[in-house]
C-alpha cells in the first residue's frame, strides 16, 4: 500500500496573518513539500491541475519533472489531470515524457474538472464533460497502446498514421487512476478499463464514498479484470495534527472556518463528523484512516491533503514530519497485516514491466527523417537507450 500527499496548489490567504504567498513562493513551496514527502518516507506526491486563480499549478508535468530530478524514490502523480479540456495527444506526450525523465515513477489521475468557465477557455463545453472524458480517454489509451494511430471522434481533429512520442517507457504506459467524487459513469469507466479508481474522500460523507467504490469494484469484476476485492482503489483524506488533539483543533479552526470550499458553513466539529476530516492527534488520524478500509475494503493508495487553505509552509512541513514519524509506520504495519494475500499491492512501473515480461525499448523509428535525413543511414547512432 502506498501513502502520500496531494496538493491542489491553492494560493489562499492565511487567515491568521492576512498574508497570501506569491505565486513564486507557492510554487517553490510545492517542490519543498514534495521533496520533504520523500524525506519523511512517504511514497507518493500528487499535484492538481488548474487554470484559474487562486491556483498556481497549470502545468503539472513541468513541476513534477523538476521534483523527479530532486527525488529518487517518490512516485509522482496528479490530482487531477483534466481529461476533458486537455488534448489527449498532449496528455499522451507530456506524461510519457515525464515517465522517461522520472525513470517510471509516474502515474496519473484523470478527472473532469468542475469549473464551468474553464471548458470554453479550451474550446470545450462543460455539458460535454462525461462524453469528453469517455472519448478523450479512449484516444489516450490508443495513443499509448498503439504505435501508429488512425482516429476520428467527436471532439478533436482526426489523426492519420499518428505516433505519439516518446513511446511509453519500456513499452508500459503510466498507470491511470480515474477520480470522481459523485459520477457513477467515471467509476464505470475505471472498471471497464481495469484502471484504478480514486475517491477524494474529503468533501462527502463516507457512505457516499463507499457507494462509489462499491460500484467500481462490482463493475471491475463484471468487466473481467479480477475479483471485486482485487480492484485498485485510492482514497484521499484531510488531516491536521498536533501531538495534543486540542492544540490541533485550536490551530486549524481559523483555516477551516475560512477554507475556500466548505468555509463559512458547518463547524469543524460537524464537518469532522460528516466527512473523513480528522483534526487531532496522530493516534486519532491513525484510527480514522484504518477505519477507511471498513467501508471501501482493502485499498492500495492513501493520499492526504495537508497544504491547503492558507496553511504556512512551516506548518505543512511539521504535518509531514508527524505523518512520517508517527502515523506512517503504524499505518504501514496495520494495513499490511489486515490485507489478504490475493489483494494486489499498489501498481508501480517496475511491477507492471515485470508483469509484461520485462522491459523493452519501445522507440518507434522513422523510416527517414526530413529534417536531418539521418535515421535511414545511421540508425545505430540515434539509438536512444
Amino acid at each position: 500500500m502506498q501513502f502520500g500527499v496531494f496538493s491542489v496548489s491553492d494560493l489562499t490567504v492565511d487567515p491568521t496573518t492576512g498574508r497570501a504567498p506569491s505565486e513564486a513562493e507557492r510554487i517553490k513551496a510545492i517542490v519543498t513539500i514534495a521533496t520533504k514527502a520523500e524525506e519523511v518516507g512517504l511514497d507518493v506526491f500528487a499535484l492538481g491541475e488548474h487554470h484559474n486563480p487562486p491556483f498556481v499549478s497549470s502545468s503539472p508535468t513541468t513541476t513534477l519533472a523538476h521534483i523527479a530530478a530532486r527525488t529518487t524514490r517518490l512516485q509522482l502523480s496528479t490530482a487531477t489531470t483534466l481529461i476533458t479540456t486537455n488534448d489527449p495527444v498532449r496528455i499522451a506526450e507530456d506524461y510519457a515524457m515525464l515517465q522517461h525523465l522520472a525513470d517510471g515513477r509516474v502515474d496519473l489521475m484523470l478527472g473532469r474538472g468542475n469549473t464551468g468557465p474553464v471548458y470554453p477557455w479550451f474550446g470545450k463545453d462543460i455539458r460535454d464533460g462525461i462524453p469528453l472524458a469517455v472519448e478523450n480517454y479512449a484516444l489516450l489509451r490508443r495513443l499509448w497502446d498503439d504505435d501508429v494511430v488512425d482516429w476520428s471522434g467527436r471532439f478533436r481533429t482526426p489523426l492519420q498514421g499518428f505516433t505519439s512520442t516518446p513511446r511509453p517507457l519500456d513499452g508500459v504506459p503510466p498507470f491511470v487512476w480515474h477520480g470522481s467524487i459523485r459520477t457513477p459513469q467515471i467509476a464505470e469507466q475505471a472498471a471497464y478499463y481495469g484502471d484504478g479508481f480514486f475517491h477524494n474522500n474529503i468533501f462527502w460523507p463516507k457512505e457516499h464514498t463507499a457507494r462509489m467504490v462499491e460500484l467500481y469494484r462490482r463493475r471491475f469484476e463484471h468487466h473481467g479484470h479480477g475479483a471485486a476485492d482485487q480492484a485498485i482503489v485510492g482514497l484521499g483524506g484531510q488531516v491536521f495534527m498536533r501531538r495534543n488533539s486540542q492544540d490541533a483543533v485550536r490551530e486549524f479552526r481559523p483555516y477551516f472556518d475560512d477554507a475556500p470550499v466548505y468555509g463559512h458553513g458547518p463547524s469543524l466539529e460537524e464537518y469532522s463528523r460528516e466527512t473523513p476530516l480528522t483534526v487531532g492527534s496522530p493516534q486519532q488520524v491513525i484510527e480514522r484512516t484504518l477505519g477507511f478500509r471498513e467501508y471501501v475494503g482493502d485499498y492500495q493508495r492513501q493520499l492526504f491533503l495537508v497544504d491547503h487553505a492558507g496553511l504556512p509552509l512551516r506548518t505543512v512541513l511539521e504535518q509531514l514530519d508527524l505523518l512520517g514519524e508517527e502515523v506512517l509506520p503504524v499505518l504501514r504495519r496495520e494495513f499490511a497485516a489486515l490485507r489478504p494475500a490475493h489483494v494486489p499491492d499498489a501498481p508501480t512501473h517496475a511491477a507492471r514491466v515485470a508483469a509484461r515480461g520485462g522491459s523493452r525499448d519501445a522507440t518507434v523509428r522513422a523510416a527517414a527523417d526530413d529534417v536531418t535525413d539521418q535515421a535511414r543511414h545511421s540508425e545505430t547512432e540515434v539509438r536512444v537507450r
Partner: protein
C-alpha cells in the same frame, strides 16, 4: 390496501404557522381522499425551519448532512408531495427554494405535487402560478391543477371565506389523491445500481 407515502414540506417560520396549518389541512384532505380510494397513507412532515442551517451548509459543502438526509430522503422516495410556502417579497421564501435547490436534479421527476402558499392578502395568490408552479415544472414534477392559497382573510374572514378555503383544500386533495391512486407505488431509481454499460457511453450514449 396498499400503503402510500405522502411527504409534506412546509416553509413557515412561526409557531403556530398558518403555512403549517394549510399544509396539515392539505395532507388531511389528501389522505381522506386516498382513503376513499382504499389506500392507506403515511404522512411525513418536513418543517424546513428545523433545517435552515443544514440547508445553508448543504449549499456550501454540496452534500446534505446526516440530519438533512433525514428530511430529504422521505421526500425523494415519497409517492406524492405537498409543498407549502409563505409568500416573501413576491415569491416563495428563500428557505423553501433552498430545499428544492439541494435535492438531486431528478428527485421530483414525475412525482405528483400539490402546491400551497400563504400570505397576508389574497393579492399575492398568483405567486402559486407565477413562481411555485414554474419551479415544479422545471423539476418535471406533475402538479395538480388546483393550487391553494390561504390569506389572512381566509382564516378569519367569516364563514363564507372559510368555506371557500375548505372547498379549495378538498378539491386539491382530491386531485392529488386521484393522481397517486392511479400510479404504482414509487421505486426510486438508484444511479449506483442502474449504471449504464460502458460500451453505450463509448458509442456516444
Amino acid at each position: 390496501m396498499s400503503g402510500r407515502r405522502l411527504a409534506v414540506v412546509t416553509a413557515g417560520l412561526s409557531v403556530p404557522s398558518s403555512t403549517r396549518l394549510l399544509a396539515d389541512r392539505l395532507a388531511a384532505a389528501t389522505t381522506d381522499a386516498l382513503d376513499r380510494h382504499g389506500q392507506a397513507t403515511a404522512v411525513q412532515v418536513v418543517e424546513l425551519r428545523e433545517y435552515a442551517r443544514d440547508l445553508a451548509d448543504n449549499l456550501l459543502t454540496g452534500f446534505p448532512n446526516g440530519r438533512l438526509r433525514g428530511a430529504v430522503d422521505p421526500v425523494m422516495t415519497a409517492d406524492a408531495l405537498i409543498a407549502v410556502t409563505p409568500v416573501f417579497s413576491a415569491s416563495y421564501s428563500g428557505l423553501f427554494k433552498t430545499f428544492f435547490d439541494v435535492l438531486d436534479e431528478d428527485a421530483l421527476a414525475g412525482m405528483p405535487v400539490l402546491m400551497g402558499a400563504t400570505g397576508g392578502t389574497a393579492r399575492h395568490s398568483l405567486v402559486l402560478d407565477h413562481a411555485v408552479r414554474p419551479l415544479f415544472a422545471y423539476l418535471r414534477a406533475v402538479t395538480v391543477p388546483t393550487a391553494v392559497f390561504a390569506a389572512a382573510e381566509d382564516w378569519g374572514g367569516g364563514d363564507a371565506s372559510g368555506r371557500a378555503l375548505a372547498e379549495r383544500i378538498r378539491r386539491a386533495g382530491g386531485e392529488l389523491a386521484d393522481l397517486v391512486a392511479a400510479r404504482p407505488a414509487t421505486a426510486a431509481a438508484d444511479p449506483f445500481r442502474d449504471v449504464a454499460e460502458f460500451e453505450t457511453l463509448l458509442n456516444g450514449g
